[in-house]
């Protein structure tokens, strides 16, 4: 099992670097992961997307793809890319403490 060293802790992550245990997640951790991922400081709009992602995951059992994320969050694709550069669905899922979206396979 791989681990992520962050905020002085060693947390279990999967092969894609996403948290294995949702219980390890906190807002403080999300802010730290966002910095590590090059997203920077989280604004209210970032948080709205992260919350929408978590709600969709709790309902569907999987992290939403980018198309569903625009649906769920009400934030358009262009803006999602500005908020979470290089793959908004993957990045937002990582910061939200969720596994990588499965949309792809």
């Amino acid at each position: 099992m791989e681990t992520l060293e962050i905020l002085g802790k060693h947390l279990a992550v999967d092969k894609d670097g996403h948290l294995v245990n949702r219980a390890d997640w906190s807002e403080e951790l999300a802010r730290a992961i966002a910095v590590q991922e090059g997203v920077g400081e989280l604004t209210d709009l970032h948080w709205a997307v992260i919350r929408a992602m978590q709600m969709a995951f709790d309902r569907d059992g999987e992290a939403p793809s980018i198309r569903r994320l625009t649906h769920e969050s009400g934030v358009d694709t262009k803006t999602l890319y500005q908020l979470f550069p290089k793959g908004p669905a993957k990045k937002a899922a990582k910061i939200a403490g969720l596994p990588k979206p499965k949309g792809c396979i």
Binding site: I66, R67, Y81, K86, K102, C104
Partner: protein, 409 residues
């Protein structure tokens, strides 16, 4: 009479029709199959058409050749499904009532979903190979093309046959080498994925293969629009990739009749139990193949493995027993790598593609995630199996459940 209606007679629908027609008693069951066209297309063959390996006649047969005599055949487009009243409304507004419905309406490419993709240049400098017409147009284009920048773009995931874009590039490398102009052709993959494929180990191995074949990759590329004047695709984060010829894998979506029925998600795929293959919203509707939203590959092999699961569960359901079969997401795909070789991957929901050997009684073993001639012959032989065994609903010697035998973790 109990009534079963199968919607869509592609790979998945035709397999289910043949399997069930064999066991459902003709005195008690009326089976109806509905499809919009008379023609069955061997879709895995489209890949080979641009390179002149297959001709259109190799991939086309009349659907009725594969229908059992006891099935009622309706050739019509579907307006919508009225799931509450258990009926399918055809485009002429007539209704076909059912007790049980199997949805196998597949997925289609939607170039209209990307700004600037579907215009006058579509079919001239921008092509698809996921339709027979698109593959034929591309073949004609390639025959006289003298080289330049070829960009293959995947618009968004999921797509049907996620290995096909890689196979296309490998075959293009091989084809332009044979034509003596490989040094004049730049091959590039612009993909929304972070690498060559969706799973880590296969991405590593296929990524190495792309590099060895001098195929460049622009990862994390989410296409926002095509600038046709500048022949450039532009991502949402303003990365620009210029092309001379664009091969597009447009957004894939389920059938519009699913959307009109209110049965689909944002891509018109029917939310489906990933293990039982029953529709989540209605217990008398089952879904097979590309039409569902399962997190498994949209591919013929997957539909084949699903067909064995659905066959058992359907019989359980109509007999009032609990459904006993569980789909594990098994996929088994040959990947053409050019120069007469291919790779093979075998995986499921939980186990990513791994290297090793794939045993196949009487024929195998094939090598997993490794280029061999044997795998290439396996891929070509599959066309015969498809027409003669697979869609006729007969058994192939591959288990619907994935096995770890031979795999090296």
């Amino acid at each position: 009479m109990r009534r079963l209606v199968i919607l869509g007679a592609g790979t998945a629908g035709t397999m289910m029709l043949n399997k069930l027609a064999r066991v459902l008693n003709g005195d008690q069951w009326q089976i109806t199959v509905i499809d919009g066209s008379e023609t069955h297309l061997y879709q895995p063959g489209f890949l080979f058409i641009p390179f002149g390996v297959y001709r259109p006649e190799d991939v086309v047969k009349p659907r009725r050749e594969f229908f059992p005599p006891n099935a009622r055949v309706v050739i019509s487009n579907v307006d919508h499904i009225d799931a509450d009243r258990k009926r399918v409304i055809l485009e002429d507004e007539s209704a076909v009532d059912y007790d049980y419905l199997i949805i196998s309406t597949g997925t289609t490419i939607r170039p209209d979903q990307t700004e600037g993709l579907l215009d006058d240049e579509w079919g001239k400098t921008k092509f698809d190979f996921y339709t027979l017409q698109g593959a034929e147009r591309l073949h004609r284009f390639f025959e006289s093309w003298q080289g330049g920048r070829l960009v293959l773009n995947i618009a968004e995931m999921p797509i049907k046959c996620p290995v096909a874009p890689l196979e296309f590039l490998f075959l293009a490398d091989s084809y332009f080498t044979a034509r003596g102009i490989r040094d004049k052709v730049e091959l590039r993959l612009a993909t929304p994925l972070s690498g060559a494929f969706t799973k880590p180990k296969a991405t590593e191995i296929l990524g190495d293969l792309l590099e060895r074949k001098n195929i460049k990759v622009t990862p994390d590329f989410g296409i926002a629009r095509v600038d046709n004047e500048r022949k450039t695709i532009i991502s949402y984060d303003d990365v620009e990739v210029p092309y001379d010829v664009l091969i597009s894998i447009p957004t894939n979506m389920g059938d519009e009749s699913i959307a009109r029925s209110g049965l689909g998600d944002e891509l018109n795929y029917v939310p489906t139990d990933k293990e039982t293959l029953q529709a989540q919203a209605y217990d008398d509707i089952f879904v097979i193949g590309d039409a569902g939203n399962l997190p498994s590959s949209k591919a013929g092999s997957v539909a084949h493995f699903q067909s064995e699961i659905l066959f058992k569960n359907f019989l359980d359901r109509i007999e009032g027993r609990p459904m006993s079969a569980r789909f594990d997401g098994h996929a088994n795909c040959f990947i053409e790598s050019g120069f007469g070789k291919a790779l093979l991957i075998d995986f499921n929901y939980n186990v990513e593609p791994l290297p090793g050997k794939f045993p196949l009684p009487g024929i195998g073993p094939f090598s997993l995630l490794q280029e061999t001639r044997m795998n290439h012959y396996g891929k070509l032989a599959f066309r015969w199996s498809y027409w003669n065994v697979l869609i006729r609903g007969a058994e192939l010697p591959i288990d619907s459940k994935m096995s770890m035998v031979g795999k090296v973790a």
